[in-house]
Symmetry: C2
Subunit: 265 residues, 2 copies
C-alpha cells in the first residue's frame, strides 16, 4: 500500500486532511486579513507551526500564496488569476458591468451589484466616484443582508430556510433605523417581493439611502441585485428607484440572452 493509499484509507478519501488543511490555511485570508505571519496562520488554523510551514511552502511554490520582504504571507497572483475565471462572480460581472457603469455615469451615485452566498451578500461590482475612495474592498467583500437595500432584495428572494436563519439570527443594529424586529423585517421583505424594489434609509450608516432591485437569470430566478447609494439631500429618490429597476431589468435581459441562469449561480 502506498502512503497515499494509506492516507486515503485513514481519512476516508485522498488525504482529506492535507487538502483540507491547505484550504483551511487559505481560508484564514479573509475579512481584510491581507498579510499574515506563519504564527498568525498557525494560531488561526490551530495547526502546529511545522505543519503550517510545510503546507505554506507548497502553496507558495504553486503561487497560491506569496511571501513578502517581511516574511509575511499574502494571497498570490496565481490564485487570483485562477479565481478570475469564477463564472458566478466574473461571468456575472462581465455581463452586468456595462449596465452598472452606465447607471453610475448617468447618476453619479455609487452603483453596486451583489449576489447572496449563504447568509450574507457578496459584492461583485461597484462603481463609485473616484473622488470618494473607499477603504472597503471594491469586490469580494461580505456583508449582512438585513441592513442594506441590496441585501434586503437578496433576502426577500432567498429560499425560506435562508430567510428563517437570518430572521431568527442576530439582526445587528448598525444605526437606530436598522430593522432589528423580525416581524417588521418580514413585512418589509414581503413588500419588496410585491413592489419589485427596496429602499433602505440610513440603516447601515447614518448617511446613505440605498435603493435596490432584483436581477433575474435566464430561468427567471433572482440571482443578484443592483443598488444605488444616495444621500439624504438627494431628493429625487423616486426617480432613482425607476433607474435602478430599469438597470436591473436590462441586466436580466442580458442574462436571458446569454442563457446565464440559476445553474450558473
Amino acid at each position: 500500500m502506498t502512503a497515499e493509499q494509506q492516507a486515503d484509507q485513514d481519512e476516508g478519501g485522498p488525504s482529506r486532511s492535507v487538502i483540507d488543511r491547505a484550504f483551511a490555511i487559505l481560508g484564514t485570508f479573509q475579512g481584510g486579513r491581507i498579510r499574515q505571519s506563519l504564527s498568525d496562520i498557525s494560531r488561526r488554523t490551530g495547526l502546529p507551526i511545522a505543519t503550517c510551514y510545510r503546507i505554506v511552502q507548497r502553496l507558495t511554490e504553486w503561487g497560491a500564496l506569496e511571501r513578502d520582504g517581511e516574511s509575511k504571507y499574502r494571497v498570490g497572483l496565481r490564485l487570483w488569476e485562477v479565481a478570475s475565471l469564477a463564472p458566478r462572480a466574473v461571468g456575472l460581472q462581465r455581463l452586468a458591468r456595462p449596465y452598472i457603469q452606465d447607471l453610475y455615469e448617468t447618476t453619479g451615485y455609487a452603483s453596486h451589484l451583489a449576489i447572496r452566498e449563504g447568509l450574507e451578500l457578496v459584492s461583485i461590482e461597484r462603481f463609485q466616484s473616484p473622488r470618494r475612495p473607499t477603504r472597503r474592498p471594491l469586490v469580494g467583500g461580505r456583508y449582512p443582508m438585513h441592513a442594506t437595500a441590496i441585501g434586503q432584495v437578496l433576502l426577500a428572494h432567498a429560499p425560506e430556510e435562508v430567510q428563517e436563519q437570518v430572521l431568527s439570527g442576530d439582526l445587528e443594529p448598525y444605526t437606530s433605523r436598522t430593522y432589528t424586529d423580525r416581524a417588521v423585517l418580514e413585512r418589509v421583505l414581503a413588500d419588496i417581493v410585491r413592489t419589485g424594489y427596496a429602499v433602505s434609509d440610513r440603516q447601515i450608516d447614518n448617511v446613505h439611502i440605498g435603493v435596490a432591485a432584483p436581477v433575474r437569470g435566464a430561468d427567471g430566478m433572482v440571482i443578484a441585485a443592483v443598488s444605488l447609494a444616495l444621500t439624504e439631500k438627494d431628493a429625487d429618490g423616486k426617480n432613482m428607484i425607476h433607474l435602478v429597476r430599469l438597470t436591473a431589468a436590462s441586466i436580466s435581459r442580458a442574462l436571458d440572452a446569454a442563457g446565464f441562469d440559476g445553474s450558473n449561480s
Copy 2:
C-alpha cells in the same frame, strides 16, 4: 508512523503529491476554460479519473470549485473571495483604480493597468466604454509583452534575465507592425527607459494604438504600467502621452504615500 508522516517521508514534504494535484487541477482553469467536465480535468492533468474525482470532491466541499447543473465544474465563489485579497493585484487595483477611472472618464478611451508576472503581463484593471463590451476578461488575463505599449513598458523595466528570455524567445507577429526583430525591440526598450513612455502602433491588432507609461512603487522601482488604447483617427496622440504619463505619476505618488512598493510586488 501515521499515513501523513509516511507521505511526508515519501514525498519529501507533507503529501506533496496531494496538494500539488489539487493545484494542478485548479491550474487547468485558465485561458478562458471556465467550465470543465471531470474527464476534461483528468485529461489535462494526466491524473486518473478516480483520483481526479476524489480531489475535485474535496475542492468542491471547500468551495474552490462548484458543480453546475450539467455536471461540469467551475471555479467557486469561495476561491474568488479569498483571491480578492491578493494584495499584488487587489491592493494595487484599489489604490490605482480611481486614477484609471479618471483617465477613462476624461478621455473616453480604454484605460488599462497591468503588472508583469514572469514573461507575460497580467491585466489588473481596465476601464472602457460600456458601449464596447469585450469578450476578453476585464482583469486576470495574461498577454505577451512585446506587442503592446503597456507590455513594452513592463519589459523595458524588467530584470535583465527576463528581457533576455523574452527577446530570445518567440516574438509572435500579431500584425505586420509587431516587433519581431530582437535588435529593433532592444532599441525600442532602451528608448522607453530614456523617454519614460511607449507608443505601440497597431502591433497587437490592426486598429489600436497604445500609449503607456511606468508606475513606480514607494521604493522607486517600476511595478506596473498604465496605458490608453486609441485608434488611428485619434490624432491627438501627443496629448494622450501627457495624460498617460501624468496618470502614471499620480498613481506612483499614491503608492508612495501608501508605502506600497517592491516588497508588495
